[in-house]
């Protein structure tokens, strides 16, 4: 067997296992403070929530209602609704709320993109904190109250919260539910302890408004403005925190095609952002984020993708060879059926590595469920699907590398 391939297997195994162990150690070490809430010294500061929307007539009402039902005093809460040139009834729905005292409605005649909408909201706001929320999401009444406390630390530039899928029904929604709970909630919490949060997710994140202004607002050229702003915060030396004790519910793609389009945008945006901030890579000044997270995370992704492709090539060429050999025996398939017991000694070390990786991923997932107080039985289908989802991730990354390398146009939606 090719020594390059074997080295690739060992490297990817080592890096991914290291990541899993690191997360597990953080979970063990910090489990007592995962859900700890911090009181903000300054009482109830003014906060603006910007809610940009493009053709979201079905979900926008629920999003606005969740904001109007917040535990936070409404006089300290400003809501800016931005209709980004919708062609459906989104604008009309927003107009129904124009008379509500703390709501401002902004109408873009033509679609300008999410980042420009957020910047418009930032311009209009005079609050100390800015929250950005997706128009297909709804937050828990205590979301602002609980997350603002993290800004007690002056170095904190943004706070993210736990993300859950709103009423997951289909298998795909259940799988994404598990993925969000682990990848966009617990993982971010773990990463916050090594100051390596790399995204302030779109469904709901809060920023210090003076920090956003100082950095020039959201990047209107980026297709993943929530990722880009997080990298910029890291570049400027700000911490990003995660609040697990509250959550935002969001809707997710219902079919594979929509999921593919969403992930191509996310992952292509990630690649563009990493390229833009390549100077942070191995930069001591950016601490763990530059020295560990960026090289390790994207190293595993890139090497994992190469490993996936080379394994796919080897397996398919093996299958092709075997099938072509069948022609030499006139496709006498019955003769190939072998009832011999599997010889355990003929098990390759590659299988041992593969089994250990799958085992480690299962342990991480189960521990994550325990930490998140999620019921394993209720989420069993999503859980099993999530473990098998890794093949799809490779497809998404492959599509994204292709899109970025060949300058394919990526739509925001």
């Amino acid at each position: 067997m090719n020594i390059v391939y074997l080295s690739l297997v060992y490297t990817v195994w080592f890096m991914s296992t290291y990541f899993i162990i690191l997360y597990l150690l953080i979970f063990i070490q910090k489990r007592s403070v995962f859900y700890k809430n911090i009181e903000l010294k300054e009482g109830k500061p003014k906060i603006t929530v910007i809610l940009p929307a493009f053709n979201e007539e079905d979900t926008i009402k629920a999003s606005i209602h969740s904001l109007l039902s917040m535990d936070y005093p409404q006089e300290r809460l400003e809501i800016i609704l931005v209709n980004d040139g919708s062609t459906d009834r989104t604008g009309e729905v927003m107009e129904e709320y124009r008379d509500v005292e703390n709501i401002t409605v902004v109408n873009n005649k033509v679609n300008q993109g999410k980042a420009r909408c957020l910047n418009k909201g930032l311009e209009l706001s005079r609050s100390r904190y800015i929250a950005c929320m997706d128009s297909d999401s709804r937050i828990k009444p205590d979301a602002i109250e609980k997350s603002l406390g993290f800004f007690r630390d002056p170095d904190v530039g943004a706070v993210t919260i736990r993300i859950d899928v709103h009423e997951p029904r289909t298998l795909l929604e259940k799988i994404i539910g598990v993925e969000y709970a682990i990848g966009l909630s617990l993982t971010l919490k773990a990463l916050s302890y090594i100051n390596s949060i790399h995204v302030t997710p779109g469904p709901f994140s809060i920023y210090r408004s003076d920090v956003l202004r100082e950095m020039g607002g959201f990047d209107e050229e980026s297709i993943t403005e929530d990722l880009e702003i997080a990298y910029r915060l890291q570049e400027h030396g700000y911490r990003i925190e995660n609040c697990l004790s509250t959550r935002v519910y969001t809707t997710v793609p219902r079919d594979l095609k929509s999921l593919y389009n969403q992930r191509i945008r996310w992952y292509s945006g990630a690649l563009q952002t990493v390229y833009k901030y390549k100077k942070l890579m191995f930069n001591r000044e950016n601490g763990c984020f530059g020295m560990f997270f960026l090289p390790f995370n994207y190293g595993v992704i890139l090497l994992g993708l190469i490993l996936f492709l080379s394994s796919l090539y080897m397996t398919s060429s093996n299958i092709y060879t075997r099938v072509s050999y069948l022609g030499f025996i006139d496709y006498d398939l019955m003769s190939l059926i072998n009832f011999e017991v599997i010889d355990p000694l003929a098990i390759s070390i590659l299988y041992l590595f593969a089994v250990s990786s799958i085992g480690a991923s299962i342990v991480l997932t189960l521990v994550s469920f325990r930490v998140l107080h999620k019921n394993i039985k209720k989420n069993l289908t999503g859980l099993v699907g999530f473990i098998l989802f890794f093949i799809l991730y490779q497809v998404f990354w492959l599509g994204s590398f292709y899109s970025v390398l060949f300058n394919r146009e990526i739509k925001w939606r």
Partner: protein, 232 residues
């Protein structure tokens, strides 16, 4: 940062420990594989000694009684040798995924030598005891690009499985540089791989199932032979 450093270091140590455990497990499995091969090789050696003893008996006491014992012994050994060859190849494959191991090369040499000995015994017995197995010799190695040695091995394995008691198949790896195999190559005038020798007649190049069955049936009536292709 101090806490972080300790955290990163601990994660590194635990990962290294798991890696070492898997590596050690593979080493243990490697030893077990070697033991399994050696045990089988030992069993076959025992059988050979027994056969050699019977051969001596034959010389002294005649062929009538000894041939019955020898025939049973040979069909039993035939299957055992073939399975050992397959085991050596499969274990060698999984071992080489981790490191190149001279053990399997040596065992392969030993195995090929045993096959040469077994072949000579078989030829001798065939005549004396009237054994009706068709003797097929298969020479392979690193074939040229179009040599199709792997393909030929696949077809021969298939045929052997189908008519195992009717043929005695001996495979020789010419890359092992064994003088005994070189002698056989010279005897049968083999210049190209893969090559098959059926009852002293040499067929070079690749032969698929149809062609191979035709060749075999031209030498002896076997269960796979169609009535019109049988030897008159």
């Amino acid at each position: 940062m101090e806490v972080n450093r300790r955290l990163f270091l601990t994660a590194g140590i635990i990962t290294a420990l798991i890696f070492t455990s898997i590596y050690s497990l593979n080493l243990i499995l490697g030893d077990k594989r070697e033991d399994a091969i050696l045990n089988r090789m030992e069993e076959i050696n025992e059988e050979f000694s027994e056969m050699q003893t019977i051969t001596y008996l034959m010389r002294v006491y005649g062929e009538n009684i000894t041939c019955i014992a020898l025939r049973e012994q040979m069909s039993y050994l035939d299957e055992k040798i073939w399975k050992l060859g397959e085991k050596i190849d499969s274990y060698r494959k999984v071992t080489e995924e981790f490191s190149s191991d001279p053990f399997y090369i040596n065992q392969k040499k030993r195995f090929n030598r045993q096959e040469v000995v077994y072949l000579t015994m078989m030829r001798d017995m065939k005549e004396k005891c009237g054994i009706d197995q068709l003797i097929v010799l298969y020479f392979y190695g690193k074939c040229d690009e179009n040599g199709k040695c792997d393909e030929q091995s696949f077809v021969l394995t298939y045929i052997n499985k189908k008519i195992d008691p009717e043929i005695a198949l001996y495979s020789f790896d010419t890359d092992l540089d064994l003088p005994s195999i070189d002698i056989l190559k010279t005897i049968y005038n083999i210049t190209e791989l893969p090559a098959i020798v059926v009852e002293d007649e040499t067929y070079e190049g690749f032969h698929d199932r149809g062609k191979l069955e035709e060749i075999l049936c031209s030498h002896q009536n076997l269960s796979i032979c169609k009535p019109d292709k049988q030897v008159k």
